[in-house]
Symmetry: C2
Subunit: 358 residues, 2 copies
């Protein structure tokens, strides 16, 4: 049975009810159901997402140790003072060699963690370094659907998967530090295409003003330059996401949204108010233009692709005839009468039949 | 048409002929065809891989800056002195923030690069940090099929994707340096499961002997411990690959293959002979037991899965009816009458029809 359109299993109905009643334990439980891909998890998502996205989602990306978590904690505290609920998701890739997390500044929200108005989830990723697995994006959706007004998500940017943050957040904050290299480099790396707001954190260190200047120069250089070489990966066609972003670039060029380059010292809280203000202005701008609609549409498109690809894999490999074809194929490869490509071709013909030639 | 079983396009026939004649330019061109997934690339792979794998493949993984490239260059030079041809593939993930490669010690083979007996390919990865994309593994196969006797592949181990090196190499060398943390940590991270040979490089630095001792202790501790928590990603079920490796563990316990822990100083060449000897002994051991056959079978299984998953995605998203269903679904989501899950479900039903419920 195709999972996404299946009925919700009756075992998950009480959970759905408690989720809709706003029980935090139900949110935590729903996340666990999604993370473990339990039977019916997609039916559950379908049910809770029917109202569409509502939360204001801000994504933070930047190199390890840039102070993303401290900034995020400062923002969360400020939203709490406005009595808004905050969801925080930290995507935390680990290294087998250091044993430690690459997110140099893990979520440091101990003061906040006891606040029932804050929901924190740290997700260890393996294999998709700093990138956002479909599951992670589904967890963000659950937090959104639960009615939490502010969703903050943090990824470490290595391996260029940080571009995927555009598939998860409405507003992308790129956090750099004076030592993280020059603005031209950031432009080359595609960060200009994803940043709605630049933050130079640890701005009390030498080189901060120079970096601000370089980024501003790079933004001017970029005006009119062609978008190129956007990677596609994990089945997510990022060029589509980033291309949507180009509507923002046009707006930028007509002066509607100018990417601010802010200076902060997250440790002391300096500049956090300015960041809050910039996020708020960006949200207003998106609401006034068609930008928010476009971004949500791009995000939905990415999700559809992710879900279809995931389900195709699942349907394929759970099939007993495919399993048998695989084992038989391996025997034939060992005998030299097949290659992985001819075996894959035979499996695909069995799965898709005449549909493949349409 | 299902690509893997399609006929070779006539435009690629001259390339295949020159490849079989051993023209290095044809190898380079074939790699480019595969990297760009040009029409018929899988048919080309099927043709050249029909003879099965022959090369001795050694994979190197370890933290950035451990000296993997220097070790690899030393080994390549030694093989050249024996008049064997060497293929080198460096998988080089980049960071958008540093602009630089994470492979702290990029291939430093300038002296060797002019040697026609050495074929070097550096592959920048995006998104799959340190992990091995299917394309990368296909490039390794091309080099193998070309008749190059020794294939050396280097990945940087971050995000735990280094486990994927077991899906590419016959012999896995894990390179650590005294400063890269303790042996217990390495065991926890699953490195014990993948290493055939441990190398402590920069062994002239303090702490080298301590690290050797810790790794040996960790290996003894591990004896009899259960394999757990092997990640699955990129559609590759690594637990299957690693589980195959457990046959090696059994052998280890019966004393057939003892994982050596070697000390090297790659910069001066110290210990490289010992590493060559260990690689050679490991290969003999694999040939004498069923290990090489098992590993190649596991690798073929992973490849079949990769190819099927890739082709399922391709067939799905090139279909005009799927594209139309996607656009229509996005409109319905915007109106609040659908979710990504119901749209994905409808697309899947169109693709798989009744096959899905088998």
């Amino acid at each position: 049975m195709i999972e996404p359109v299946a009925d919700l299993p009756s075992s998950l109905e009480p959970l759905l009810e408690r989720f809709r009643e706003g029980k935090v334990t139900a949110l935590a439980r729903a996340i666990s159901v999604v993370e473990n891909e339990r039977t019916g998890f997609q039916a559950l998502l379908h049910r809770v997402l029917s109202a569409g996205p509502r939360a204001a989602r801000v994504g933070f990306t930047g190199p390890p140790g840039a102070g993303k978590s401290s900034l995020l904690a400062g923002m969360a505290a400020a939203y709490r003072r406005q009595d808004e609920r905050v969801g925080v998701v930290a995507v935390d890739p680990t290294s087998p060699f250091s044993g430690g997390a690459l997110l140099g500044d893990r979520i440091r929200m101990n003061d906040l963690a006891t606040d029932p108005g804050i929901f924190i989830r740290s997700m260890a990723t393996r294999g998709s370094l700093g990138g956002l697995a479909t599951t992670t994006k589904e967890v963000l959706d659950l937090i959104d659907a639960f009615g939490i007004e502010r969703v903050l998500v943090e990824t470490v940017g290595v391996g260029q998967t940080e571009l995927e943050i555009t598939a998860a957040a409405d507003t992308v904050v790129v956090v750099l530090v004076p030592e993280s290299g020059d603005g031209i480099q950031a432009m080359k790396a595609g960060l200009m295409e994803i940043a709605d707001i630049f933050v130079i954190n640890k701005a009390d260190r030498p080189g901060a003003d120079r970096l601000v200047k370089e980024i501003r120069q790079a933004m001017h250089l970029r005006a009119g330059s062609a978008l190129k070489d956007v990677p596609a990966h994990h089945g997510v066609d990022l060029s589509r996401v980033v291309a949507k972003r180009r509507s923002r670039d046009v707006a930028l060029e007509t002066g509607t949204w100018t990417i601010p380059v802010l200076k902060t010292v997250a440790q002391t809280g300096e500049g956090v108010d300015g960041l809050l203000d910039a996020v708020s202005r960006h949200r207003e701008w998106m609401a006034e233009t068609s930008e928010l609609v476009l971004r949500r549409r791009a995000r939905a498109g990415t999700r559809i692709r992710d879900v279809v690809d995931r389900e195709l894999r699942r349907v394929a490999w759970k099939s007993p005839s495919v399993q048998a074809g695989l084992e038989d194929g391996l025997d034939r490869i060992a005998k030299g009468s097949a290659t992985p490509y001819s075996v894959a071709g035979a499996i695909l013909e069995g799965l898709l039949g005449s549909r493949a030639s349409r």
